[in-house]
């Protein structure tokens, strides 16, 4: 059966409802059974003068990056969309307004930019909106109707999503929105289809769980909730804010609480305090916030207190580029705290990974009694994908603490008992007979300050060695290989959202008969040296694409393994183009 792979871009001005349209579209096609990956571009302004683009790629099997060329571009505002006309492939569709109200000079209308191989469709969207709803505000819904009608999508999933999305605003708004959608749908259904953008029907799938549309941040929030997060402390910062916003609505429903603190220092301090008290707590921030948290993270490390920090990276350094994506906080996450402060750092590569890493982070934090930093980036945080969740039961272990053994009579509880695996059974305040002190000073097994040479060496070893077990944490793959097995000409090492583009590039390279494979590295600290080395043994050349200037991950690999890699470090502020990676692979393959 043929497969679907259609990418739709909707471009408009801020205030046109571009993003809302994209949201409805991706939910509707997901409800129809397709897999989706989507990413929106926003301007800083709310109305008037900025460009919004909502792009989504709709596939039969889940894909992990957007394509360079879209199959359909719909312009809600030509003045914003004109530069993107070239994005559509040959035989793809360009949809635009055929009756704009304002006069324009030559070349300022989308019909002037249509390339000979593309198919132009002009629709009177404003007029259809006026006619169906009495106003021009439903233009974006008319546009959705046109997309559905032209591409042969069933209207019912759209109608359901529209009713749900606008339900809170009252039945009149819902009726008006549905009328707008219907008007566009009917007009487009009557239009003779000249493009070849066609959806292959979705066959029945094996039931493997519930399929829902999530953004990276929404997935993180969901993972936290499914891991029975007790409390959240946060300070808003782009692009992590929506994690807190979502939890702010959901936690109270479960009888739990969230506090917005006065700054990131207070946020991490409260998180650690809650962890000390035995609760599952987390905070979320971005690069600049992580910098503020670095000292307190050191406290969590030395006191061996579980805490979870979600860091969604953005363009840096400093305030940097708040609305652009980057992967440049790796060094800060790994090495940011003063002293020997190793902690667990994990980085999902897709939205489903965000869910799993979020939930697993709490397990790891408790099990290894250490801070866990989950690294996302703006692209992943704001990206939408269809995610399959388990139907029922708990996805995560709700209590990963090492069991506290009964004290012998007369025995004093030793909070930092030196054990074989380095993890000391943890008591929390209130546990009878287990009173103890903790301190940021170097300490002995009882938690009392002790700066002797032997104790510091033992505790340092304890704190570092215990983390190695994380490499074998149950139900968690720290690395995973894709592509050709055995010996390959070019191997890619990548982490975070860049892995999606790498995977596409590997498939494209294989189609060009270049033996190629990719290893995704999810756990960055402790570093999976063995797995990475084994992979590198299989490769003639190793390429490390990442979105930061200094090649931070390449540096990590080279530092740990002392083996050379080829770097592809670029800072476009947006996901690395697949073609760029492919070109590098081809160059290396030529030798």
């Amino acid at each position: 059966m043929s497969k679907t792979d259609i990418q739709i871009a909707i471009c408009g001005s801020a205030g046109d409802g571009t993003i809302a349209a994209g949201d409805i579209l991706r939910n509707a096609v997901a409800a129809a059974g397709y897999r989706v990956i989507g990413f929106d571009v926003y301007p800083p302004e709310i109305r008037g003068f900025g460009k919004c683009i909502s792009r989504l790629r709709i596939t039969t099997d889940q894909s992990y990056s957007l394509k360079r060329h879209s199959d359909v571009l719909l312009s809600l505002d030509d003045s914003q969309a004109l530069p993107h006309a070239g994005e559509v492939r040959d035989m793809g569709a360009l949809i635009f307004e055929s009756q704009p109200i304002a006069p324009c000079l030559e070349g300022e209308h989308m019909s002037a930019r249509v390339l000979p191989g593309q198919i132009p469709y002009g629709f009177p969207m404003r007029e259809l909106s006026q006619q169906a709803t009495g106003g021009g505000r439903s233009r974006n819904l008319v546009a959705l109707g046109i997309i559905a009608g032209l591409l042969g999508l069933l209207p019912d999933p759209f109608r359901k999503i529209i009713a749900r999305k606008f339900g809170k605003q009252g039945p009149e708004i819902v009726a008006r929105s549905l009328a707008g959608f219907q008007a566009g749908f009917e007009d487009a259904s009557r239009t003779f289809k000249l493009d070849d953008v066609v959806f292959a029907p979705i066959g029945p799938r094996e039931p493997s769980g519930r399929v829902i549309m999530l953004s990276g941040n929404a997935a993180v929030a969901r993972g936290c909730l499914d891991a029975e997060l007790d409390t959240f402390f946060g300070y808003p910062i782009t692009p992590a804010t929506s994690i807190m916003e979502r939890l702010a609505t959901e936690l109270p429903k479960r009888g739990r609480r969230l506090l917005q603190t006065e700054d990131e220092i207070a946020a991490i301090a409260a998180t650690i305090g809650a962890g000390y008290a035995g609760a599952r707590a987390a905070t979320a921030t971005s690069g600049p916030g992580l910098a503020l948290m670095s000292e307190m993270l050191g406290l969590a490390t030395i006191t061996e207190t579980p805490c979870v920090v979600f860091v969604s990276q953005r363009g840096g350094p400093s305030t940097g580029m708040p609305t652009k994506t980057e992967q440049s906080d790796l060094n800060a996450a790994l090495y940011g705290s003063p002293g020997d402060g190793q902690r667990i750092v994990i980085a999902p590569t897709n939205v489903e990974g965000c869910y799993r890493c979020a939930g697993k982070a709490f397990e790891m934090a408790e099990r290894y009694q250490t801070p866990v930093i989950v690294l996302l980036d703006l692209y992943l945080s704001n990206r939408y994908e269809t995610v399959t969740l388990e139907e029922s039961g708990h996805a995560f272990v709700l209590d990963a603490n090492k069991p506290l053994p009964r004290l012998e009579p007369g025995e004093t509880y030793r909070r930092y008992a030196l054990t074989e695996d380095g993890v000391s059974p943890r008591a929390v305040p209130g546990d009878a007979d287990h009173m103890h002190v903790i301190t940021g000073l170097e300490h002995n097994e009882l938690g009392r300050p002790d700066d002797s040479e032997s104790m510091h060496a033992a505790m340092s070893r304890k704190r570092h060695d215990k983390l190695q077990a994380a490499l074998c944490h149950p139900d968690f793959a720290v690395t995973r290989r894709f592509g050709a097995s055995g010996r390959v000409k070019v191997g890619l090492l990548a982490w975070g959202s860049t892995f999606g583009e790498c995977l596409e590039a590997v498939f494209m390279a294989q189609a060009l008969d270049i033996p190629c494979a990719a290893l995704k590295v999810v756990m960055l600290s402790p570093f999976p040296a063995q797995a990475v080395a084994a992979f590198m043994d299989d490769c003639d050349q190793v390429l490390v694409p990442e979105v930061n200037y200094e090649g931070q991950f390449a540096q990590l690999v080279q530092g740990v393994l002392a083996r050379p890699v080829t770097r592809l470090s670029r800072v476009p502020g947006s996901p690395m183009p697949v073609e760029q990676i492919l070109d590098e692979i081809r160059r290396l393959a030529r030798g």
Partner: protein, 582 residues
Amino acid sequence: MTLHSDDPRDIGWVRENIPCQNACPAGTDIPAYIRAIAAGNHGQAYEINREANVLPGVLGRICSRPCESACRHGWAGNGDPVAICHLKRSAADLKDSRHRITERLYAPTGKRIAVVGAGPAGVAAAHDLSLLGHDVVILEREEKPGGMLRYGIPEFRLPRAMLEIELRNALRLGVQLRTGVTVGTTQGAIRVSTLLADHDAVLLATGCMAPVLLPLRGVPEGTDLARHCQDVEYGLPFLMDLHRGQNKRVGRRVAVVGAGFTALDCARVARRLGGREVTIHLRTSEEYIPVTSEELFETKREGIRIKGLRTPVALRTDGDGRLTGVAFVQNRLGGWRENGRRLATPIEGSEFIEPCDTLIIAIGQHTVNDFLDMRVELDRAGNVRVAENGMTSVHGLFAAGDYVRGASTAIEAIGHARRIADRIDAWLVGRQRRRTVRIEAVAAPPRLPAHDFIPKCHMPTIPLAERQQPTREVELGFTPELAAEEAKRCYLCDLRYQIDVDRCIYCRACIEVAPRNCIKLARDVEIRADGSLGALRETREWRRVAAIWIDNNECIRCGACFKVCPVACISITRNHFVTVDG
């Protein structure tokens, strides 16, 4: 809240922003009567019409509709103009049969006025003058009143019963109608000088009905071809004879020469009288025919062919003097004439023959002045010269309608005649009346956005098979439903939407919902010499915006801005002319 204003800016606004009323030679308050029709008050609509045009049912059928060409709903991007004329007719058709017309009557003045000619101009003037209190007598040459309306327009376009009723209503308030009376210099005719002596004023409204003769090669100028060949007729006399009750016949192949209403009427009549192949020959092309596109369509639908770029140059007859064909010369389109028409330049050596057995010539009409028994100054066109108030060079002798301006349209004649009647009244008794603007506040937009998408309603017509009957009216008139639908389409341009600049908070919500490019960011506005507001100077830079302003020219009065404004700074007023004494 109602205000009256004499401010030239308000008067200018009404004049410029209600294009239909401005285009109507009679100044009919079109939005007002369409509003009445939309509310189902057909009687009221009829009377509003009648204020400006005393024969609404007649004009509702045969008017040339200059209002529709100007209608804002027909402007580029707005769709089709409102079917104003058909609505006018529907007011007449659908008004309650018991509806009684009331009119304001002034006290008698004791002045006596004679009107010569009971055509549209004469009847309109007589009506007005009798209302103003004068003693009016109309002298009409034909057996019945109506002029061009009765004798020039076929019954399938204008039923006679309805014409009778409206003429009677126009003249009922004391106008003495004397038909079958000739005014002129021949034996038994009443002389104009006599009329002048017996009356305080005489108004000549004899129209423009003498046919322009067709010049042909080798035929002396001034020859009346109709006398020379029994198969040749002039258009208007042909129709007049027919409407006087004579039996007219045409052959199988009829050629009609001419491009105006009369030519088309003759062609359609010829079809009904048995002409199997009827062709209209134009000197220029279809683009320059002044008739409405609806009528052109019906003409073609009835099987009449239209051929352009030819001028007749000779007749071809057989041995018995019967017509066998017409020789034409091919034309090029030449320069431009004042009325927007083109000159036709004959191309030498391009003659060809169109076979036909009947020729009807309808290339225009001219006035005649030979009935005058005194010297009257004429203008260059040969029409009587009149002053601003309609008086000729002879004291007390006035003229109005086609007689003054040449062959025109009924509504022009009515408009002109009523203006002249007002001048005559002022001249006779010194009464002053003036036009002022009444401004009424409107609480909310009276129309729904959906109304702007109603497609133009088409006039139902009788099927082709039923058109053989020559007196059967072709257009059936709007049903009440169609009239109500079409009435909804009128934007009601007499509404003025205005932003109070002092209260506007520049949120631009109105611009976002505007269906046209009608709300603009203005940095300045032109102020004309008379103080009225002219063109807006727009800007795209936010910091140079002085005001957000509704461009009333582009505005289609949809009300979206009014509904969305968060501070309710947009006002709606209805602005229309009223005539008051003094």
